[in-house]
Amino acid sequence: MDTPLAVQARGITKCFGDVVALDSVDLDVAQGQIHGLVGPNGAGKTTLLGLLLGLAVADSGHLEILGTPLRRALAAPDGVAGFVDGPGLYPSLTARQNLAALAALRGHDARTAGVDDVLDQVGLTDVADDQARGFSLGMRQRLGLAAALLTKPRLLVLDEPSNGLDPAGKKHVHGVLTRLAADGTSVVLSSHRMDDLQALCSEATILATGRVVFSGPLSKLAAENRELDYRLLTSDPQAARRLALDAAAVRVVDDTGTRHDAEALVVRAPVPALDELVVRLVQAGIALRELAPLVSPLEAAFLALTEQKETGR
C-alpha cells in the first residue's frame, strides 16, 4: 500500500552567492509523520525549512508539498504553516491579539478561528492578555506554535521549537505535536537536541554542509553506530580498569581530565564486548553499580556522521 507523502524533495540545491547551502538534498515526509531535521550549525536546516514554507525556491531539483509542486516563492499551498529562525510575534500586541490579527488576515474573527483553543493547547491561556513583549523565549516558541496551529495545518514546519522551553512547556509542545501527528498532520522540525528527536520523531534526516548524511528511522540511525563510550561505576575502579585493559575489543578511554568523577571508568566497545566485560567483572567479584552510554546512541551516531562529513570536506 502506498504511503502518502506530505513532502517530496528530489535533488534540491540552493546557493547563496558562492555558498552552497543545500546540495542535492532528497527528503520524504509521510503523512502523519514527525520528521526530525538535525545537523550542525550551517548545515542547511533553516534553508531547507524555508523552502518547505515557500519562503524561497530551490535553484534546482523538484519539491512537492502536499501534492503541489513549488516552482516560485510564497507558493506553498494552504495547509502549510510554521516558522523558521524563531516565531514572528509583535511585542506590542498581547498573545491573544497576535493570534486574532493573524486570524483576521485569513478572514476569521478570533472566536471562530479558535484562538482560545490554540492558546489552551500550548498552555498560554493564563497569559493570553499579556503583551508578547514580556514573554520568555519558551513562551514565544509556544505562541509561535499556537499561531501555526491556528491555520489547522496539514504540514507543520518548525525550527527549533523546543528552544527555551521549561520541562512543563516541553511537555505541552510534545503533547500537541504528537496529537497533531496522530490526526494526520505531518511535522518537520529541526532540533539540536537528540532527546527531543528521540521523544518525538519516527524518522530523521541528518544534514552536514548542505548534504544528507543520513535519512531514515531513528532505530536505524542508532544501529549504524556500533561502538559507543560507556561509563562504568564499580566497587573497585582499579581492578575494573585492569580487567577492561585486558578485555578484547574494549578500549579504556582516558578522559579523567574532563570528568569530575575520577572513580568512574569510561570504555569504548561494541555491545558484545561490553557484555563480556560485565561478565568478567562479576566473576571477579566486582560490583557493577552503574553502566550507561556516555552519550545517547542517537547523539553518538549524529556526531560520528557529522564529524566524518566535516573532516571529509
Binding site: D2, L53, L55, T68, A75, G79, G88, L105, R106
Partner: protein, 451 residues
C-alpha cells in the same frame, strides 16, 4: 512504495487580500505606544498651544500670522501650519513611514509576515496605505486641534491676509482648510521618502531619520539664495507655498508647482521603494541595507528628478535668478500698506478711504546704490507714498524690509510716528496694535515684473 499526498481539501497558495493586510498593518501600527502618543499629541497639544499663546501679551510676531493671534482665531492654526511644515510633518513622517518596514527587520518578523500574507506586493501596498492613514490622522489632528484652540480662545473674526486685505471668517475658514490640504502633498512626498529609507536601509537608524534629514537639508537649501527654479523643484517649497492663498489675487503659480513637484516626489520615491522591496532577499535575517545601494538606487534617481524638474521649470516659467526684483517688492509693499492703511483708518475712526483713492506706491532700494536692487536681504528700504482725498500733499512713510530668499518679508515701520513709528495706536476704545507698525508680506517669485 510512496505516493504524493493529494488531499481534496488542500488548496493552492491563497494570498491575503490588500484590505485584510492593510487592517493587519493598521492594528500593528496603532498598538505601538509611540504612535498612540503621537496621535494624542497631535489632537490635543495644538489646541492647548494656540489657546495659550493667544492669551499671551507677547505674540510670536516672527512667525507668519503670529502677530494676528490676538485678532482672530484663524491665525493660530496658520502659525501651527508654518511650524508643522518646518518641523512637525517631516518628523511625523519619519516616525511613521520611516519605521513601517524597518520595524519588521528589527523584530525579525519578515518571514512570518511573508508566510502569512504570501505576497510582497500586497505587503508593500498594505504598509504604505497603513502608514498613510496614520499620517493623515496626525495631520488632521494638527489642523482640527489648532483651529479649535484658536476659535475657542480668540473667536471667529476676520483674518488679515498676507497682503493686508481682510478675509471674512468664512473665507478664512475655506483658505485655512485649503492650506492644510495643500501641505498634504509635501507630506506625502516625505512619507514616500520615509518608505524608501525604511525599505533601503533596513534596521539601520538612518532609515528612520531619512525624511527628517532630507527635510532639514532642503530647509537649509531654501535659506540659501538659490535660483527660483531650484527652489521650486524641491518638495519642501510646498510647505510654504500655501502663503500664496492669503494674498489677493491668490499666488497660485508657486502653489500649484509646489504641489505637482511634491506629488512627483511622492510617486517616484514610492515606486523606487516598491521596486527595491520586491528585489529584496528575505532569507537574509541580518539585512541592514547598504549605504552604496541606497545612494545608487534611491539617491541618484531623486537627484535626477530634481535636475529634470529644474530644467522644466526654468524653461516653462522663464524664471531666473532669485525671483525677488525691485518692482515686485515695491508692488507688494504698496499693496499691503494700502490694505493695512484702511484697517488703521477704521481703527482710528477716520473717514473711510479705498485702495484706489490712496494710490499707494512704494520706492524700494537695497543696500547702497552700488548694490543691484534685487534678491533677499535685510537691507531693503522702502518709502511708501499715498494720497488722501482732498489733500494735495502725499503722505510718506519709511519701512526697513527683511526679505528672505523664499519671498517672505517683514516690513518694520521707521516713521513718521503717527503712521508707523509706534506699535500702538490710540483708538476711541483704547490702545490697539498698530497694523502699520510692522507687517508681513510676500513676493510672488514667479510673477512677471512690470513697470
Amino acid at each position: 512504495m510512496t505516493a504524493t499526498l493529494t488531499h481534496d481539501n488542500v488548496a493552492a497558495a491563497r494570498r491575503v487580500s490588500v484590505p485584510r493586510a492593510y487592517r493587519f498593518e493598521l492594528v500593528k501600527l496603532v498598538s505601538q505606544w509611540r504612535i498612540r502618543l503621537l496621535v494624542l499629541a497631535c489632537w490635543i497639544a495644538p489646541a492647548l498651544f494656540v489657546a495659550a499663546v493667544s492669551q499671551q501679551s507677547t505674540l510670536p510676531s516672527d512667525t507668519l500670522f503670529g502677530r494676528w493671534m490676538h485678532a482672530t482665531g484663524w491665525a493660530g492654526t496658520l502659525v501651527m501650519l508654518g511650524f508643522a511644515g518646518t518641523w512637525a510633518l517631516p518628523l511625523l513622517t519619519s516616525v511613521v513611514a520611516g519605521d513601517v518596514f524597518a520595524s519588521e527587520d528589527r523584530l525579525g518578523t519578515w518571514r512570518h509576515l511573508l508566510v502569512a500574507v504570501r505576497s510582497p506586493r500586497r505587503i508593500f501596498a498594505a504598509k504604505a496605505l497603513a502608514s498613510l492613514t496614520v499620517i493623515l490622522l496626525l495631520v488632521a489632528g494638527l489642523a482640527a486641534s489648532s483651529t479649535a484652540g484658536g476659535i475657542a480662545a480668540v473667536g471667529d473674526q476676520p483674518l488679515t491676509g498676507l497682503d493686508g486685505h481682510l478675509l471674512s471668517p468664512a473665507d478664512a475658514a475655506g483658505k485655512v482648510l485649503l492650506a492644510w490640504i495643500c501641505v498634504l502633498a509635501p507630506t506625502l512626498a516625505f512619507a514616500a521618502i520615509g518608505l524608501l529609507g525604511s525599505v533601503t536601509l533596513g534596521r539601520s537608524p538612518m532609515g528612520l531619520l531619512l525624511p527628517a534629514l532630507v527635510a532639514l537639508a532642503m530647509q537649509l537649501a531654501q535659506m540659501m539664495p538659490l535660483p527660483v527654479a531650484v527652489r521650486l523643484a524641491l518638495p519642501s517649497y510646498a510647505f510654504i507655498a500655501w502663503n500664496g492663498l492669503f494674498t489677493s489675487p491668490t499666488q497660485l503659480g508657486p502653489l500649484l508647482i509646489g504641489i505637482v513637484v511634491s506629488l512627483l516626489w511622492a510617486v517616484t520615491a514610492t515606486v523606487l521603494a516598491y521596486a527595491l522591496f520586491l528585489r529584496r532577499d528575505f532569507t537574509n535575517q541580518t539585512y541592514d541595507g547598504s549605504a552604496r545601494r541606497a545612494v545608487t538606487t534611491a539617491g541618484l534617481p531623486l537627484a535626477a528628478l530634481v535636475a529634470v524638474t529644474v530644467a522644466v521649470l526654468a524653461s516653462a516659467t522663464g524664471a531666473s535668478g532669485s525671483g525677488i526684483e525691485q518692482d515686485k517688492v515695491q508692488r507688494s509693499v504698496a499693496t499691503a500698506f494700502a490694505h493695512l492703511y484702511r484697517l488703521q483708518t477704521e481703527q482710528l475712526n477716520r473717514p473711510a478711504v479705498t485702495e484706489a483713492q490712496l494710490k499707494a506706491t512704494a520706492t524700494c532700494d537695497k543696500g547702497s546704490v552700488k548694490v543691484a536692487a534685487e534678491g533677499p536681504g535685510n537691507d531693503w528700504r522702502c518709502v511708501v507714498s499715498w494720497h488722501l482725498p482732498g489733500i494735495e500733499v502725499a503722505g510718506t512713510a519709511i519701512y526697513q524690509l527683511d526679505l528672505t530668499p523664499d519671498g517672505r518679508f517683514m516690513a518694520d515701520g521707521d516713521g513718521p510716528k503717527e503712521v508707523n513709528g509706534y506699535f500702538l495706536v490710540r483708538t476711541p476704545t483704547g490702545d490697539a496694535p498698530n497694523p502699520l507698525w510692522q507687517f508681513d508680506g510676500n513676493v510672488d517669485l514667479l510673477a512677471t515684473p512690470k513697470g
